[in-house]
Amino acid sequence: MSIKPPMRMREKVLLRVASKAFIPLILLFALYVQFHGDFGPGGGFQAGVIFAAGFVLFGLIFGLEALQQVVPWSIVERAVALGLLVYGGVGVSCILRGGRFLDYGVLDHHSPMHGQHLGILIIELGVGLTVAATMLAIFYAMAGRGRA
């Protein structure tokens, strides 16, 4: 009597179909948390984690190789850097516009309040990008252990 090898996750219909339905919703919810963060609970960090969770789910079901085809390691690494640069870049552009570092009020010439709003929005975008990429980097490092 031969023992059947355990089924891989992608061979389980239920998981495959359910995850395909869920992943777009997870990503959409992440975007909601990201851009609604200044009016309700949420913000860049939470949004980044949720966004990455969508990709992690994909990786769990369809395998690390499939995920790395979607988001290669080089993109993850650059995204980590880019998010931080977006954050810092806003701060530096505040200095260039005659304010203090991270003084968003000067970002809009007409109303400091709009400037503050714009500043926090871009900064949270940077945070979201870096957090999502970092979560993926951690997932790659953990899941890829012993493979290379």
Partner: protein
């Protein structure tokens, strides 16, 4: 732009680190890291000059005025520290030994340089900020990047060394955070100057006392004050040699600054020394560190470990300066920050040159190298003389001020002990000299290229220069000591 310098000196390395990830090519990243370090040095020198002529520089982050917003506040002490840290970075980063004895996988060097820049940004941040919580954030940035850097050492022990440093460093960081939390709970402010205004009437509070104790222990772990130094020897031994040079010369100095800032600016010398008598606790520990560190260094068989134990002894001297709480004593402690950064940075770079050629950092590796690598070995000898405190070297200057400070306080026994512990340094330095110049050569090697010996000699040469010409170092340190004690010049 110039009024933004005190923010930019932290922002530049912080943003330069992710740029390394975009540049990727090792050669470009190396050049970029060096340029950033030099730019930081220029900014630090400008800031020091400006503090000495125009007084304290404050900067409100994001346009939010202190005490509500985060304030960057530079006085004679932190401007002096900024110069130390950036000077060491701008010598170590471009040096030819920066990648020696690292275990980087192919094509990953850019991550190493990003970690170096983050570490620099964290150290500069701790030094510049006037906000206690901001200090904690930068302490974490520095610590996390230094764990990474240490774990990149060639041997597998580097991983355990980095891990035990991670455990100790996290405990230290947590203690700092708990202390900050206690102070915040009672005073409702995180700004150091605001705390200094509010604390005097609350000093009887048990929460404040507990907060002070947490801050002291957390800071002492980071500084590696004697019984809390266990993480240091392994970390310095197994880290890549250039990382040891950078961290040994900067990280403990910045922790020292943090302790001094908390004691003198936030709580005030009157409370800490007159009411709590902290010096009766710190002074025996400092003296124990001077002897235990030096004695342990005598018996080491590894050059890096020898230097690490000698660092513990030198931290003892600096702490002793802190305990004296007088202008002379503090001047001695602070000038020793500068001088020790130069000699330890130079000595670790020299060891990195040895590792580059022989592949080993054991004391036997330098056997007979006096003829083969004359420049490197001469650097080790001069750096060693400075560790002992021979007149004409920078080490003499700091010990002179420490001894005078001890005599001023009437601590005659302490000044004798300073001199006695220096004699132990003679023993371990002589061991190096004897091995290098009277040993039988084991390796067929030649001198390292100029890109490696020149940075070593810049630091070692500086110990000779500042051993004779002390206007800048002692002048800056005594201005810093006066700023700490609140004495107007």
């Amino acid at each position: 732009m110039s009024e933004h310098l005190s923010a930019l000196i932290v922002v530049l390395p912080l943003l330069a680190a992710p740029v390394c990830l975009l540049l990727r090519q090792t050669r470009m990243v190396r050049a970029w890291t060096s340029i950033v370090a030099w730019a930081c040095l220029c900014m630090a020198l400008t800031l020091l000059e400006r503090v000495h002529t125009g007084g304290v520089i404050t900067y409100a982050m994001g346009g939010w005025d202190p005490p509500l917003g985060i304030e960057y506040r530079l006085d004679a002490l932190n401007a002096y520290l900024l110069v130390i840290v950036t000077a060491i970075a701008s010598v170590v980063f471009p040096s030819g030994v920066i990648l020696t004895d690292t275990s980087l996988p192919e094509g990953k060097a850019h991550l190493y340089f990003a970690a170096l820049l983050l570490c620099l940004a964290g150290l500069l941040g701790i030094t510049s900020t006037g906000d206690l919580f901001n200090v904690f954030v930068f302490v974490e940035i520095t610590s996390l990047s230094s764990y990474t850097l240490i774990s990149l050492g060639k041997n597998r022990q580097a991983l355990t060394a980095a891990f035990s440093y991670l455990v100790m460093g996290t405990i230290g960081g947590t203690f700092l955070l708990v202390g900050i939390g206690f102070l915040y709970q009672v005073t409702g402010t995180l700004n150091m100057n605001d705390l200094a205004l509010r604390l005097p009437e609350l000093l009887g509070s048990r929460t404040i006392l507990a907060g002070f104790a947490f801050l002291m222990v957390g800071g002492s772990i980071k500084l590696a004050v004697f019984p809390l130094h266990q993480w240091l020897p392994n970390a310095y031994t197994h880290a890549p040699a250039a990382v040891s040079a950078f961290i040994a010369a900067t990280a403990t100095k910045v922790s020292y600054y943090l302790l001094a800032r908390i004691i003198f600016t936030v709580f005030g010398a009157a409370f800490v020394f007159d009411a709590l008598h902290l010096h009766w606790l710190l002074m025996p520990l400092a003296i124990a560190a001077m002897f235990a560190g030096s004695l342990a260094a005598v018996f080491q068989t590894d050059l890096k470990r020898l230097l690490a134990y000698s660092s513990i002894a030198q931290i003892g001297y600096m702490t002793l300066g802190l305990c004296m709480a007088s202008e002379t004593g503090l001047t001695g402690g602070i000038v020793h920050l500068f001088n020790h950064a130069l000699m330890k940075g130079g000595l670790f770079l020299a060891v990195a040159c040895v590792v580059m050629r022989t592949g080993s950092s054991s004391v036997n590796a330098i056997s007979g190298l006096g003829r083969k690598m004359p420049l490197t070995m001469a650097a080790i000898v001069v750096g060693g003389l400075s560790l002992i405190g021979v007149p004409g070297t920078a080490g003499f200057i700091s010990k002179w001020y420490l001894v005078v400070g001890a005599l001023e306080r009437g601590w005659y026994a302490v000044s004798v002990l300073i001199l006695l512990s220096s004699l132990i340094a003679v023993v371990y330095v002589w061991r190096l000299v004897e091995t290098a110049f009277f040993g039988v050569p084991e390796h067929e090697v030649c001198e390292v290229p100029w890109t490696s010996w020149l940075p070593t000699w810049i630091l070692i040469g500086a110990t000779l220069v500042f051993g004779i010409w002390t206007d800048v170092t002692v002048g800056g340190a005594s201005a810093a000591a006066r700023a700490l004690l609140g004495v107007t010049p």
